[in-house]
């Protein structure tokens, strides 16, 4: 240890430095033991204490509300949210997703870095992996709950209308000669397709949880998820709430996509053109909407809500500073848009514009 101490220092300084290094060693030993014993509370408490006893104690900084507006990593928002997340996990003895140290966390407000090396290190370390079931499910949902998932489900169940033979002879004509209202037939198809999608999502969920549980552990349903708020505020919600909200919003994305597909199915009567038109419309909708995201009515545009996780965490809202974008508004916008599309489909069906080919008289 003596080698570590500068020889020019006086005795008092040397003692102080020795004590500091001893503290550091003790702390490291405590961390190692806590890690070995899976004592997450102790592990996180050490980290929290460090933050509280730092040169700029976090509680003081929060009180001053100074530093939120800097865009240099780590700004106060980043420090505060990391501190709160660790506190949340310590209180509940939740295993953090490693790495969890201060250079493994950044938020959308961290735009600039002191230097390139720090930027590189932080950007590598914020990519965190955990093989627990819940964490794996979270990763899967990040990929599925967006345009990729929507297209996947469109391909999986997209022929529910056209395979019935709209426009040609097909089972739809059997249903139409039953004492059932036509709107009811369409609604039941929409409900069926959503139910089948829900079952598929449930299977994916169970599979992800099983896979994680078998190879590691189930994970923590109350793991914290950061939700951005207005004026650099935030809140933490449990992973279970986050996943439930994601599923709900994604189901609304599917409702919208299937309503669009129903409309195109009614117009084209065949699966491939209907599917192609739906995907192209969604793609064009998302692309063109990005250019108009700052317009006054952009929060009423359903194409903005396709990145489900970013909507739930308010990441989109915070990044453009428009908190009209929210989970509830997303649900509402998708519901109303789907209702409009569905009504159009019903009207088309009602007037039977091109039901049969002329050569079948």
């Amino acid at each position: 240890m003596n080698n570590l101490i500068d020889s020019d220092k006086n005795d008092e300084e040397i003692i102080e430095e020795k004590l500091y290094l001893l503290d550091l060693i003790n702390e490291s030993e405590m961390k190692v033991n806590a890690l070995k014993e899976k004592d997450w509370k102790t592990l996180l408490d050490i980290d929290l204490k460090e933050e509280e006893n730092s040169m700029y104690p976090i509680e003081n900084e929060i009180k001053k509300r100074d530093g939120y507006y800097t865009s240099t990593w780590p700004n106060l928002f980043t420090r505060e949210t990391r501190y709160k997340m660790n506190k949340w996990m310590a209180e509940r003895n939740i295993q953090p997703v490693f790495r969890y140290d201060f250079i493994s966390w950044m938020t959308i407000y961290d735009i600039a870095f002191q230097d390139e090396i720090i930027e590189e290190i932080v950007k590598i370390r914020i990519v965190k992996y955990d093989s627990s079931g819940i964490s794996f499910l979270n990763h899967v949902s990040q990929y599925i709950f967006g345009i990729v998932g929507a297209i996947f489900f469109l391909f999986l169940f997209g022929d529910i209308v056209t395979k019935e033979g709209y426009g040609k002879y097909g089972p739809i004509h059997f249903l139409k000669t039953m004492p059932i209202h036509r709107g009811k037939i369409l609604i039941s198809k929409l409900i069926t397709i959503l139910l089948v999608s829900m079952i598929t999502l449930l299977i994916i969920t169970i599979f992800s949880l099983l896979l994680g549980t078998v190879f590691d552990r189930f994970g923590d349903l109350d793991y914290p998820v950061l939700i951005y708020g207005e004026n650099y505020t935030h809140q933490l919600i449990e992973m279970s709430s986050f996943l439930i909200q994601s599923v709900l919003l994604f189901l609304m994305v599917l409702l919208f996509c299937f309503s669009l597909l129903f409309l195109f199915s009614m117009l084209t009567k065949t699966i491939l053109p209907a599917l192609g038109l739906t995907i192209v419309t969604v793609y064009i909708g998302i692309t063109f909407s990005e250019n108009a995201i700052k317009s006054s009515f952009s929060s009423l545009n359903p194409f903005h809500y396709f990145t489900v996780p970013k909507i739930i965490t308010n990441e989109l809202a915070a990044s453009i500073n428009n908190f009209d974008f929210s989970f509830t508004r997303g649900l509402l916008v998708f519901f109303i848009s789907s209702l409009i599309l569905f009504s159009l489909t019903y009207l088309l069906d009602y007037f039977s514009i091109r039901h049969f080919k002329k050569n079948r008289l």
Partner: protein, 293 residues
Amino acid sequence: MIIHIENLKKRYKKEWVLKGININVDTPQIIALVGPNGSGKTTLLNCMTNLLSINEGKVQLVGKNHNDPSIFKEVSYHQDNRILYGHLTGYDHLKFICNVQKIPLKAIDPVCERVGINYLKKQVRYYSLGMKQHLLLAMAIINQPKLLLLDEPLNGLDPTSAITMRNILLDLYAEGTTILISSHNLDEIDRLTNTIFFMKDGSILEESLLDLNNRHYEVLVSDWNKAKQILNEKGIAFSVTNQNQIAFSENDLNLQTFIHLMNDNEIIIEDIDKKKIGAEKRYQELFEGIGST
């Protein structure tokens, strides 16, 4: 009124495919729709059941507007077999109808027995054409409809099945069901009914109540030109077939009188063919010009 169709018109783009159809049926009967392909028979049935929108006119079935889905509690439409779900079994189809129509499931067995179905547990995709037709018939009659519309129900049926279907239809008629059947099988039509609507180019060309007791003769004579001249002089209605036979109806000319006329003029009668005036004969007269002078 079981069927009330008033000036029904249907147009595809600029072409009128139904040009003012009028049909009124107020008592149970069997009616046949006969006409060449493209005459509008299926379109008429689809318009009646609101599978196709109509451009003009009025359609009422069993006293209700045709776009009221509740008519299908009393009206059944036996359509093309492509309406069946291939992945479902026959039982699934019948069960679905029972559930929708609120018919007890115990109605399935008697109907299947009546139609002759014993393959209910098989998926429809493995059915033959005839099996599908049987299932369609079972589906159409399970709700004991007041009005049964059938579009080419005899397609793909072997003679035994055709006889079974005919008997079922006659039984249903006897039980008070009105049947409107579109078919190309004119022999079967003759066995079912003498009320025939002949359709051509979207119109009802003739509403025939064929007198099946009226005999029709086709006679091969030694000199048909001379025979033709004699009959013309007497003002008797007749026609000449493409085999140069003299054809006439018993209503117009008694057979004995004809034989005497020929004998008196030294014309030898070589063969006499006695026929009924049926749907086929009338169809030939209307659409193929056979038998006309």
